[in-house]
């Protein structure tokens, strides 16, 4: 398709089309994570015996991951600030750091999961563990998807193309960080 | 309406449910005929004619808007009436548990019903319980509680003559009640998809008089030696 259609350029609602689409994406993600966490909380309150399994989650690793994601959120918003000033290469550099934090988050999670699985806490070990792996798993999948797309946006930003997209991937990244902000107490602290 | 389909009312609350269905039929029937009548009349009255062209009506004109807002309000009243009647019937059938003269246990499994009758001593889960498969022997005129459970998948204990349906959820024990008011042999169905044999999961309901039932209990109660191991 040659060039973007005129439809994309119109902003009747005062919000750029891309941002509007990302906000609608966030609405659909709220409902997906919301449904999953609502089911988890219902079962958690219904099954007090799950606290025994929950005791085996490692708060230190969860805390480290929370710090990693918070810092990556900072770098994402700084990249957006740089893009706002039209400074593509700086935005690209900061996006690269964000992706680095994302990879770090995944490595920490990989280490965390392997230790837990080696201790016998597999997905079928108990009711808690199945929700633990599904919730953290879907979240990690969103991290991976976000990091990949951020890679593309970074490459374009380096050549000062489509700088508007830096803000959009930043919005998505903040949302993924928000989900983790709620996942952390639910999975690690509620013992 | 049910006599036409020769479906007798077999339980104490069957009449209430039929009454509710009749009331809803009347209310919705009246609204349907009014609306359909208006619909066809407008089609006939305003069909395209040679000289006449359509009018410009924005729908805000008060005397025309009344034709929509008035039915709107009346339907709200009818809805409230239906809700009150429905909740009333629902409370008598599903929420309120009258005093039970006897309690039976109904266990649904993939493709058969097992009924546990308390037996001569009237107590459930005692060695003298009578366990029957696909044939439920009950006495007309006394109030029964049923403890419904399933051992594998979802089933639904459905007795059309009682107008009763209740899903058997594996992992739960659901208590309900009915009071037979007729005698004879009727059908029990499984009304929830439960796999390949869902179609053969019918059972028979035999409602007996007091004496016949007593005779059945004596003749079918297992000998004192607990042939059926109570769990």
């Amino acid at each position: 398709m040659m060039g973007k259609p005129i439809a994309t350029t119109r902003t009747v609602m005062g919000v750029s089309t891309g941002k509007l689409a990302v906000w609608w994406l966030i609405v659909s993600e709220i409902v997906i994570f919301g449904g999953l966490l609502a089911s988890y909380v219902m079962h958690r309150i219904g099954h007090p015996e799950w606290a025994a399994s929950a005791a085996h989650t490692d708060v230190r690793i969860g805390g480290l991951n929370t710090m990693v994601l918070l810092t990556s959120s900072l770098m994402a918003v700084l990249a957006h600030a740089a893009a706002g000033r039209g400074d593509g290469p700086l935005a690209a550099k900061r996006l690269a750091v964000t992706i680095g934090f994302a990879v770090m988050f995944l490595c920490v999670k990989a280490y965390e999961w392997t230790t837990e699985i080696s201790h016998g806490y597999t997905i079928t070990a108990s009711g808690f563990w199945q929700f633990y792996y599904v919730a953290a798993g879907i979240h990690a999948a969103h991290i991976i998807a976000g990091a990949i797309i951020m890679g593309f946006v970074m490459m374009q930003a380096r050549r000062n193309h489509e700088l508007g997209r830096v803000e959009l991937i930043g919005l998505y990244w903040h949302f993924v960080d928000l989900v983790w902000i709620f996942l952390f107490p639910l999975l690690y602290i509620a013992k | 309406m049910f006599e036409l389909l020769d479906l007798k009312q077999g339980s104490s609350y069957a009449g209430d449910i039929d009454q509710l269905i009749l009331m809803i039929t009347i209310i919705t029937g009246v609204w349907f005929l009014l609306t359909a009548g208006m619909f066809f009349w407008l089609l006939f009255r305003f069909r395209a004619k040679k000289d006449e062209s359509g009018q410009y009506v924005t729908g805000d004109e008060p005397q025309l808007k009344r034709w929509v807002t008035w039915p709107h309000m009346l339907i709200l009243l009818c809805d409230i009436a239906v809700i009150v009647m429905a909740v009333n019937v629902w409370y008598t059938v599903k929420q309120d548990l009258p005093e039970a003269d006897a309690t039976i246990r109904i266990i649904a499994q993939q493709w058969a019903w097992t009924f546990v009758h308390p037996g001569p001593d009237g107590e459930l889960d005692t060695p003298d319980d009578i366990r029957t498969v696909d044939r439920l022997y009950l006495q007309e005129g006394i109030t029964y509680h049923y403890k419904l459970s399933s051992v594998d998948v979802l089933h639904d204990f459905s007795v059309p003559i009682f107008r009763l349906k209740q899903d058997a959820v594996p992992g739960r024990e659901i208590t309900g009640w009915f009071k037979p008011t007729v005698q004879g042999e009727y059908g029990i169905q499984c009304a929830e998809m439960c796999g390949i044999g869902h179609g053969i999961m019918g059972a028979r309901l035999i409602l007996q008089s007091a004496s016949d039932h007593e005779f059945w209990i004596q003749s079918n109660s297992p000998t004192p030696v607990a042939q059926v191991t109570g769990q």
Binding site: G35, T66, H174 | Q95, S149, R172, T175, I200, Q231
Partner: protein
Amino acid sequence: MASADAATHDDHGHGNGKVPGALRGFLKDDHEWFYFQTWMILTGLFIISYIGPFIGEALHMFAITMVTAFGIAVVKAGLVIKRFMHLMDEPKFIWQMNATALVFILLFFFWVAPDVMSHEGANWGNQAGASITMTTHIEDFDPDVVWTERCATCHGEEGRGDGPAGTAIYPRPTDFTSRAYWATADHDIMATAILDGGVALGRSRYMPAFRTAFAAGHGGGHEGEVDTLPGERTEQLIARIMTFRPPPEAAPAPAPVAVPTREPTPTPTPEPVIDDTVALDGYGLIPGGEVVPAPAPAPTGPSEAELAARAQYIQGRVFN
């Protein structure tokens, strides 16, 4: 505190007057310093929420853990939404649609919780939720109880294939008291029939599969090895069925089929499902053996009148 900075946030000030010396190279203007401050607040809140549970346990006040964990999570979320996502600077329908999605989820939670969260309610009790195992999944698996509850419905109390639920099925359930059956019975065929149902053998589809039922109440397999519990339980049930075996006749009956005591095949790969329409006669095709004519149904069992009544409306149609 957050609102105080909102003013500076909009001016996109390009001077970096307020940026402290150390970070000058990193933060390019006040605007970015504002983001960095937000990050520092978030880190502080995180540390509080991290320490909270330890204080809570020390003082045995569970409320502290809850407040620090979830209360701070909400505050952190608010900060990220307001300052990083600039939600409040967008037209107001953006945050309204997100709030609507959240309201729908809360609605879902509060209207489903009475069924899933609590284990008692009007007229129902959730045994599984309170992890009471049901009759047939009791730990001490009792073949007699299982036979009475699950098998006798179709196979009959004495195993003659005359159970009340069995009369509705054609071909008839297996009669374990007939010698013809035992002459050609094969242990593996019986185990597969019990575990994976009649369909897996191409026989009558109305023999359900019990692998799931026998594995139930047993919280998942251990590491790596296949869940052997259904196999062991099937062996006990087969031993129970063997009791129906008729005593050998006066003439020296062939040596009883030795029950091979070997490890049950972990996951018997069922042969391809034979087209259902084939099994019209009694036992269908026993692999390798010739077709054995169906034994005459045992005399006892449902009375003639009932059989006639059933036959009347089955009207001889063949269905299975």
